[in-house]
């Protein structure tokens, strides 16, 4: 017997590919463009969003029957804001450099469309356990794209991965740099992140033609 029922598995796995929040629903693009210049920042961002989304989904799901629908957006905002502040403070306490690198973007998780989208679309109508799975799944789908984009941008833009000089030292001209290789400065600019996301969408849709809309 599987640990999760088939439906629960779908909640967890669908957002990774066929219903990815970034590449299919095109949500949460701003942060995907802004903080993916480094892989480390992408990973931290992905984990932060996962925490906020999973916890938020559970909280909203528990309260779903007592929230008056007229003020539900305000309630949702308060829940997200509280969780984001927790994340922000934890980062400031334990990873100050990183929290500076991410600057306002941790705070801006509040405005990440994926979070409000999942609250509205899922947590308000489902139980806490399934809401939790949905939150983890969607945050993982979001994080997956962030990490792919961050990987390529850091590798090609700075020649490093998680800060390690994997391609050699550009100043002492070792590794690839001895051959005349140079880092691609365009990779560090946000437009290139958009292009990388676009290429991912392109590849995904050409592999899975079901995803192409008819027009």
């Amino acid at each position: 017997m599987a640990i999760l029922s088939k439906k629960d598995q779908g909640l967890l796995m669908d957002p990774l590919a066929d219903n990815n929040p970034i590449t299919i629903q095109v949500l949460g693009i701003c942060s995907a463009l802004a903080i993916t210049a480094q892989l480390k920042a992408s990973i931290v961002m992905a984990l932060s969003v996962m925490f906020v989304l999973a916890m938020g989904n559970v909280v909203i799901s528990l309260m779903r029957n007592i929230i008056p629908s007229k003020i539900r957006i305000i309630v949702q905002l308060i829940v997200v804001a509280a969780l984001v502040i927790i994340v922000d403070q934890v980062l400031k306490a334990f990873a100050y450099e990183l929290s500076k690198a991410l600057s306002v973007f941790i705070g801006l998780i509040i405005t990440n469309c994926i979070i409000m989208g999942r609250f509205e679309a899922f947590a308000l109508g489902n139980g806490p356990w399934r809401s939790f799975l949905d939150g983890i799944g969607n945050a993982a789908g979001y994080g997956l794209i962030l990490i792919i984009v961050g990987f390529f941008r850091e590798l090609l833009g700075s020649g490093t991965l998680l800060g390690f000089k994997v391609l050699g030292d550009p100043i002492q001209k070792t590794g690839l740099y001895a051959l005349g290789y140079e880092d691609n400065g365009f990779m560090l600019l946000s437009p290139m992140a958009l292009i990388v996301v676009g290429i991912i969408i392109w590849i995904q849709r050409s592999r899975n033609t079901k995803l192409i809309e008819e027009n």
Binding site: G180, E182, N184, G185, F186, M187, I195, G198, W202
Partner: protein, 403 residues
């Protein structure tokens, strides 16, 4: 069996197979295809896509030849300058020499070969994957690219930029005729943002200047725009600037040859005279505005914009890449405006923004490629309003008649 028949039988053999587009491309590049149109309109005209592209290439050849000689000439001039000798350019005396040609060909021809080799390979791969025909669009792009880069750009950078430009600038939109941005300028923009140290400064415009930097033999060759931006007076006189005895990207130095190319393209009706004329007017207007600001004394010599702002407006037109950009890239029929009225606006704004970017961005005083890319994006918007205005105009006339 002649070569043409051989090609044709090869084509028949591969019909419907995966590699068919590649064979068709070779065939139609060399000869008119054997088959005729079967349905739809039967317009037969000599100025098809291939003829159009070849005409533009023809107009580019003088510029390329000049670029080759100039690459050698600038190298020798810079070496002389480093030794304290000032060179007086003379066309037959020290410009069109075998020595210049060898150095120039050694630096410029690899750019052309890489440009065509990489670009056409990408086109072929896409044609085979997508099953459409190889289009002629890259013929001009492949010629433009080597002409708008510095002579010493590393070839692998050029190759990376071309792969990017052809795929992201053209193929994702559906190939030739569907692109919203000019592919050659996409390639240049990629190079500029990715490898700025190879695209600007005073070291990249002369062959070997990078290699010799820091050694006792160090040479430098700043572009005229760079000199103006640094608030200095260039050592070249107007004659040199107009005929092109100056450092710069391979093909953009000789305004004289570019004007000849422009006249040729306008005469053959390949390039729109509306765009060229209005772009020149636009650049002159912006130049005059800046000159006026300087004359009024609102900007003094202490300002970092003074150098380029006080440059006479007509000099703006003969230095830098603006003449080249207006002639060969603003007139791109795919990414430019389609309506006649729209072309005036499109051209005017290209000239206008080119000079504006030039003056306000002294770190990289060449605005024409950014201006053209910007207006490429707005070209459909301009066309939309022109068409809407026309519809409105005719609706009004209709109402008057029926009322």
């Amino acid at each position: 069996m002649g070569f043409k028949e051989k090609m044709n039988s090869l084509k028949e053999e591969y019909k419907g197979k995966k590699m068919a587009p590649a064979f068709n491309a070779l065939h139609t590049f060399l000869y008119t295809p054997n088959e005729t149109t079967k349905n739809g309109s039967h317009i037969r005209a000599a100025d098809d896509l291939k003829r159009t592209m070849n005409t533009v290439i023809l107009a580019l050849l003088p510029v390329l030849v000049w670029g080759i000689f100039n690459a050698g000439y600038q190298y020798h001039a810079a070496v002389d300058a480093a030794n304290g000798i000032i060179r007086e350019p003379s066309l037959l005396g020290n410009f069109l020499t075998w020595d210049n040609f060898v150095i120039g060909a050694w630096t410029v021809l690899p750019l052309v070969i890489v440009s065509y080799g990489v670009g056409l390979t990408v086109e072929f791969i896409f044609a085979v994957i997508k099953g459409h025909e190889v289009e002629e669009g890259y013929l001009v792009t492949g010629m433009l690219v080597p002409l708008i880069v510095p002579v010493d750009i590393p070839l692998w950078m050029l190759a990376v930029a071309i792969i990017f430009g052809v795929i992201i600038g053209k193929e994702v939109f559906g190939g030739t005729g569907m692109n919203i941005l000019n592919p050659a300028l996409t390639i240049r923009a990629f190079l500029f943002f990715a490898y700025p140290t190879w695209m600007s400064g005073d070291k990249v415009w002369v062959h070997d200047a990078v290699k010799l930097a820091g050694t006792p033999d160090a040479i430098s060759g700043e572009t005229i725009l760079g000199t103006y931006a640094a608030n200095a007076e260039p050592v070249y006189n107007t004659f040199d600037m107009f005929f092109g005895f100056i450092p710069g990207s391979v093909g953009e130095t000789s305004t004289f040859l570019i004007i000849i190319g422009a006249l040729f393209l306008m005469f053959t009706k390949i390039a729109s005279w509306r765009i060229i004329l209005s772009a020149v007017v636009g650049a002159a207007v912006m130049g005059l505005i800046f000159n006026g600001i300087v004359d009024q004394g609102w900007i003094t010599e202490s300002s970092k914009f003074y150098g380029l702002m006080s440059t006479p407006f007509w000099k703006h037109l003969i230095v830098g890449g603006i003449a080249f950009g207006i002639t060969y890239m603003a007139t791109d029929p795919v990414s430019g405006s389609q309506t006649n009225k729209g072309k005036y606006w499109y051209g005017f704004l290209i000239g206008f923004f080119s000079i504006m970017i030039r003056v306000f961005n002294p770190a990289y005083p060449e605005g024409v490629f950014l201006a053209i890319l910007l207006m490429n994006v707005f070209a459909p918007t301009i066309d939309h309003y022109v068409v809407q205005a026309n519809i409105k105009h005719r609706m009004k006339r209709l109402k008057l008649k029926t009322a």
